[in-house]
């Protein structure tokens, strides 16, 4: 938080009074806003105990929320592994010396980054069964959709990572007699993966949120089970949405903290490339640049 110290002086007596007054004014305004929201919910009878009581019962958790969460995590985990593979393959493809590999890989990546994930999931779930003459499960349509999109985003991150490695690394590898594939596999990718670890983890947040799209194709993930199905039984859609939102927020906050910690660690010690190379790699693929989606 260096900005907050730079934009204004250390408060003197008058500034301190002004800040205190502003704090009180905005604090009161904020409390009034929260109170208004509380009243609105109250008028609609949303704080009634019978709507919240299901969350104290074990059945709610064992039958709805936990199975939903398991499916969400399973889809996110599978999607992450597959998109990492996709990302590495296409990043290498885009950096290839052969035009006939480079250009198609680039086109594929640009295409999947530009197509909305939901459109892709609909195509796989509703369209592909017409082509292969048998149904595609909701799980795989979500996972394949996630893989194509997030894999393409990771491709760009990996490419930036591989490019940020100083030329001396691959020159030295060529000098000891390695082939192109060996240089890529043994020298460049391990270093890039290490530098890209924070990006990969923050992409996991995006991926986890995107699994909620599975709700639209009736994949029994957290939103489907924990909000839709639960509310169908107890009629507490607002309460259920709040509880499930809290679960998503906790998981994603933990992942973000992990990404920041990895980022700090990578910056502190690992990746002992020259100091000039480090900022550029962060600019291209830092967590703040990862596209939000779904």
């Amino acid at each position: 938080m260096s900005t907050s110290n730079v934009l204004y002086d250390h408060p003197g007596p008058r500034a301190r009074i002004r800040n205190a007054v502003l704090s009180v004014v905005f604090g009161v305004g904020l409390v009034a806003l929260l109170w208004w929201i509380y009243r609105k919910f109250d008028e609609a009878g949303q704080w009634e105990a019978n709507l919240w009581k299901p969350f104290t019962e074990a059945k709610t958790w064992t039958q709805f929320i936990v199975p939903g969460l398991q499916q969400t995590l399973l889809a996110a985990g599978t999607g992450m592994v597959l998109s990492l593979a996709f990302g590495i393959v296409f990043a290498v493809g885009r950096l290839s010396d052969h035009r006939w590999i480079r250009v198609p890989s680039g086109a594929v990546v640009e295409f999947f980054r530009a197509v909305p994930l939901l459109l892709m999931i609909f195509f796989i779930f509703y369209g592909v069964p017409f082509l292969i003459q048998r149904p595609v499960s909701a799980f795989w349509s979500v996972v394949i959709g996630l893989t194509l999109y997030n894999g393409s985003v990771l491709t760009e991150a990996f490419r930036a990572g591989i490019r940020s490695i100083p030329g001396g690394q691959s020159e030295a590898a060529y000098a000891v007699g390695m082939r192109k594939a060996q240089v890529m596999r043994l020298i460049l990718i391990p270093q890039a993966a290490r530098a890209m670890l924070p990006v990969i983890v923050s992409q996991l947040v995006v991926l986890l949120k995107d699994t909620a799209l599975g709700y639209i194709v009736a994949f029994p993930e957290l939103l489907q089970r924990g909000v839709n199905d639960l509310a169908a039984n107890y009629g507490n859609v607002v309460a259920a949405a709040m509880v499930v939102a809290a679960i998503y927020i906790v998981i994603n906050t933990l992942l973000t903290l992990l990404a920041n910690w990895l980022d700090g660690r990578a910056r502190r010690r690992a990746f002992r490339v020259s100091k000039q190379a480090a900022p550029s790699s962060n600019q291209v693929g830092g967590p703040a640049v990862v596209e939000p989606q779904g």
Partner: protein
């Protein structure tokens, strides 16, 4: 291509993308205003405002957009009775705009804040040294420079927003992804053509937008 020769299908295709553009346009304006305001909150000297901005970003950035849109419909509209328009489509449209703006504003806020971080400390220090207040420093010195640095990130936020607009189909607005689903279900023999047209339209719309923002970011970059 015979699917799109049918006038009704073609009209559905056009109106689907018109909804997407309208959603993107309205939500982009609202999210930009809200996001810049939140970013100003997050760097302000008043702790309450900083806390509010941080809470907003942490809550909405970490919740799936599908859940937010779902809540806008089933929570705000069905349960709490918040109606934004009399027409059913228009009501869903505005509920979608609310959800998209609230969600996207948190990303705009983070982009602007990281843009503020790229402005060298000397700039704000010099502004303070000649006696500018916090608002003057922010408005005259820091934000104009930060604005140039955030063109590229804001461009990708806009592109993501346009793609995210398809999620409003969840609450019954016939935007392009819902139209595509219906067309696929009624024309099983032309699945690939239908997908190619819809995906191709998005690609034709968004890939040039991406390059445009890249070009603009380069052009506007502050030379240091």
């Amino acid at each position: 291509m015979h699917v799109f020769a049918d006038q009704a299908n073609f009209d559905a295709y056009v109106s689907g993308f018109l909804w997407i553009l309208k959603l993107t346009g309205a939500a982009a304006v609202l999210a930009l205003l809200l996001g810049v305001l939140l970013a100003a909150f997050r760097v302000s000297p008043v702790p309450v405002l900083r806390g509010f901005g941080t809470a907003w970003v942490n809550i909405f950035r970490n919740t799936p957009l599908t859940l937010i849109i779902f809540f806008c419909y089933f929570g705000l509209f069905s349960t709490l009775g918040l109606s934004l328009a009399d027409d059913l489509d228009l009501n869903n449209y505005w509920l979608g705009v609310v959800g998209l703006s609230v969600y996207t504003a948190s990303f705009v806020c983070e982009a602007v804040r990281s843009g503020i971080n790229t402005v060298p400390n000397g700039q704000a220090e010099a502004a303070r040294a000649i006696g500018l207040t916090f608002f003057q420093t922010l408005r005259i010195v820091v934000l104009p420079q930060a604005g140039r640095a955030v063109v590229a990130p804001l461009g990708s936020v806009l592109i993501a927003l346009c793609k995210n607009a398809t999620i409003v189909g969840t609450i019954g607005l016939m935007e392009s992804s819902s139209v595509m689903k219906d067309l696929i279900n009624s024309n099983g023999d032309a699945v690939i053509a239908i997908f190619a047209v819809f995906a191709g339209t998005f690609a034709a719309l968004l890939i040039p937008t991406g390059y445009f923002f890249g070009w603009l970011a380069n052009r506007l970059a502050v030379k240091r």
